[in-house]
Subunit: 340 residues, 2 copies
């Protein structure tokens, strides 16, 4: 069976099979991605992250529906949703979310939803997510959402695989969340206050604005990156389209309020990415991350093949008994591996 | 200056300097850890994780104070707190937390607090945390808390570096949190419901009990690991001390309520770890993770030294222009690197 050909010609079954191969990190999946890779690079990747309780999934569902319905006078974009749940090794939450999604988006052949759980492999999840996104891209999906549940570093790293990253907040989620926001604000291209009909929305927006000024000291970044020679000029002189200030969009996803405006903001960001070369820059960073991941894996695999059997366990036991440090053990193994 | 000797003889200044070297992943830090490693393996490592808003930091502070004050008729244990904030690249939250901690625990030479932020390096944070913990262990700290802010996979992976992992919950944190609990419950040795004076504590406890039964099907795990031949015997026949059922402890950390009981539960878990060999097992997993990290880094460093200059950028450009996939690029580079 020609899985690659079937994926390229639009078979959902073939795509689903390929995604499973990618998730299992099988050789077949790797080879299929090699063949599909030249067909990638067309989709717009939208990362969506934020703390639990902000209603990210509902928001992504609504965005998907709007993309499918609002396309004026043209065929609507095909939409994929990759829902990544790094904190759920046994996918309970993801499965529940899937059912709700299936009900809301089912029957639309232009939408494909894939949930991914971690199975305990941390670095691996960002890697397999990148593979899944490439498969959707090659299969002709125009808009690909990468939604992460949770707001830890792993989730942030996965969401920033995207061209446009939405950071979702909601009013009244408690004090501690302030601390987390500071970190993820840095990666936000667009800030969304979902559940904006709740009390406290004004103070949430004020807080976000305040933190945005800390995280994005816009005039300085602007000067530094684009006009290093004019560093003393006041920021008011700069043409505003040369820099991106993350807008704050209010939505009530479950009622569809603010979703069209959010799509407009995403579209504005797309235009900005293309005009400034930032899209290429982000692509390059993402692909280099992938390359380094493969390099590391392949180096490790080659070493394992070449190393003397039993030596690894023997050296590990010396570490466990505290005779040599893990670092010294690695040095020992690599000397031995080269000699063997 | 003999940094290693000074650390071993109890100098706080030398320790602080060493911790910075470890965080910067400097060669000096690596060499110092090699020398210190044989002095490790004595401390009890306590991981503390949970969603934002559960009051983890206050709880850890209270635990530290109790360990320092409650030691009956002996010299109190020395306590280190490693507060890891993977979601805060610029440490704003961590610094704020530090100030509060300094006020509460300052002046006690038996307590050492170190905050670590991610600086964007994901896998690296778990690694440098392991190094920092080893330094505290070698320096003679008896109890080392590894506290992570946030509840994503990275945080969970760091917290499980410990011998005893506390998962902290609090009543009334919203619906979405249920989904996250499912994943991190699996790593909990002790469940803590902090802020237990809040309304909703009963339903939180009931929910946790229900999920514990899903996450820890105790009789089956018990049979499988320890008595494979008696798989058909009813669980009631088993001596209870052979297995560990995560207890649920209620605390109100800011008032010190339930903290002594929590310390007793930690002590019970220590006894269990020692009796069953589980402590050695966990040490071995942790040290093997470290070893593999060093192996990977060293393989990559050796390859970089051996590879032809300029080739990497050239191959990366072929990936960016979609001529070859990241996987094919890695293969190309490794063939070239070996030929060179």
């Amino acid at each position: 069976m020609d899985l690659v050909g079937d994926v390229l010609s639009g078979s959902r079954l073939a795509l689903a099979r390929l995604l499973t191969q990618i998730e299992n990190e099988s050789q077949a999946g790797l080879e299929a991605l090699d063949k599909l890779f030249k067909h990638t690079g067309k989709a717009h990747l939208i990362g969506v992250t934020g703390a639990p309780g902000t209603g990210k999934s509902s928001l992504v569902n609504q965005l998907a529906r709007h993309y499918r319905k609002d396309a004026p006078g043209q065929s609507p974009p095909r939409v994929a949703i990759v829902a990544v749940d790094p904190s759920s090794p046994f996918t309970g939450g993801a499965i529940l979310g899937d059912r709700i999604r299936m009900r809301e988006l089912s029957g639309d052949p232009g939408v494909f939803i894939r949930s991914m759980a971690s199975r305990g492999a941390l670095g691996g999840l960002a890697h397999t997510t990148a593979g899944v996104v490439q498969a959707f891209d090659a299969a002709g999906f125009d808009v690909i959402f990468i939604e992460t549940v949770g707001a830890g570093q792993a989730e942030v790293d996965i969401a920033r695989l995207a061209h446009t990253t939405l950071v979702v907040e909601a009013p009244g989620l408690g004090d501690d969340i302030q601390a987390i926001k500071a970190g993820i604000l840095e990666i936000a291209d667009i800030l969304v206050i979902n559940k904006a009909d709740r009390p406290g929305v004004e103070s949430t927006e004020q807080a976000l604005k305040g933190m945005l000024q800390l995280a994005h000291p816009a005039p300085r970044i602007f000067h530094h990156h684009y006009q290093p020679m004019e560093i003393n000029k006041p920021p008011v002189d700069k043409p505003e389209q040369e820099m991106w200030l993350p807008p704050i969009q209010r939505t009530v996803a479950v009622e569809g309020i603010g979703v069209s405006e959010l799509i407009q903001a995403i579209s504005n960001h797309q235009v900005y990415l293309d005009r400034t070369g930032e899209r290429e820059h982000r692509d390059q960073i993402r692909l280099e991350t992938e390359l380094v991941h493969h390099l590391r894996s392949e180096l490790m695999a080659r070493w394992q093949t070449a190393s003397a059997p039993g030596q690894y366990q023997q050296v590990l036991q010396q570490v466990v008994s505290r005779r040599i440090s893990p670092h010294q053990a690695a040095e020992t193994l690599l000397s031995g591996g080269e000699a063997a």
